[in-house]
Symmetry: C2
Subunit: 151 residues, 2 copies
DNA sequence: AGTCAAATCATACCAAAGTATGACCGTTTT
DNA sequence: AAAACGGTCATACTTTGGTATGATTTGACT
């Protein structure tokens, strides 16, 4: 939220009022303690504490908006969308195949990696394409990434 | 950088020393001005200003590391790497083909989009694969994205 | 004028991808 | 027990992808 000119002006008034109040307190303390023999030291100590507190409060108030928000470019990490995956009825094996397809592997290479036969990979692929409503593996990869099924 | 226990301890010592020095100044001022008739008001004012300054300084010192860096997730926009593209000798047309491949289009569809024949798209593809040192279109897309040739 | 790279097209062939269909085997669910 | 599902494999077929080779055109650079 942006500060208006008025609210800033109000703050200054508050600071002035606070200062005035503090001076009043000091005046009161002066009258109260000046009569005593060692009242001077007490008065000094109290005034010192009060003014230090005022200084601290002032500094905090004035330097409060130092919270700087830095927008840093973050690679935007991958969050697997399990709900989308389940909603489309995609099985674990099909997902594995999709991942390997995204890495540019051929069906044969995928078959080797998963220790299954080529036809198996093909059937997984076919079901995957059907569930993702695509026609080619490249489209499947593209859609898989959009739906956060793969990184 | 993380603060060590020692440096934090050192800071406290500094604050203590500063306070001690301030008291010494006050003592000096007390001796100097107490003899005068209106020395009391002057002494009070000076001590007030000094302690307020101390308070401000303290607050600034203590609340300085309030600068919070918020890491915001940014989609990380696409910056075309023309240097990498030139370095590999990839032509405009080849890049266009790569882009359309990344969108999951078949060679035939790409041919339609670019108003050229199927063999043309194939030769573009073949040269592209050679230049990118890949064997399949899926790998070309994967590598093209890694090299920032396509979004 | 000559060279070169990019772009275009063609033809032919082989490999890979994708489709269709059917079958078998465990789990899990009903 | 039967049904449903996921995973597996196979066979046959069609489509698409990729390779190889060669040819033509156009524009840029020398």
């Amino acid at each position: 939220m942006q500060k208006t000119g008025f609210s800033k002006y109000k703050e200054i008034v508050y600071y002035g009022l606070a200062l005035a109040a503090l001076l009043l307190v000091l005046r009161f303390l002066e009258i109260r303690y000046l009569v005593f023999a060692h009242g001077f030291e007490i008065y000094t100590a109290i005034s010192a504490v009060l003014f230090m507190a005022l200084g601290i409060w002032l500094a905090i108030k004035l330097f409060k908006p130092k919270t700087i928000v830095v927008e840093k470019e973050k690679p935007l990490e991958f969050n697997f969308d399990a709900s989308a995956c389940e909603a489309m009825g995609i099985s674990k094996r099909e997902l594995e195949v999709l991942q390997l397809m995204a890495q540019g592997l051929s069906n044969g290479e995928i078959a080797e990696r998963l220790f299954v036969s080529l036809p198996t990979v093909k059937t997984h692929g076919a079901r995957l394409f059907e569930k993702l409503d695509v026609k080619r593996r490249t489209q499947a990869v593209e859609k898989g990434k959009r739906l956060r099924l793969i990184p």
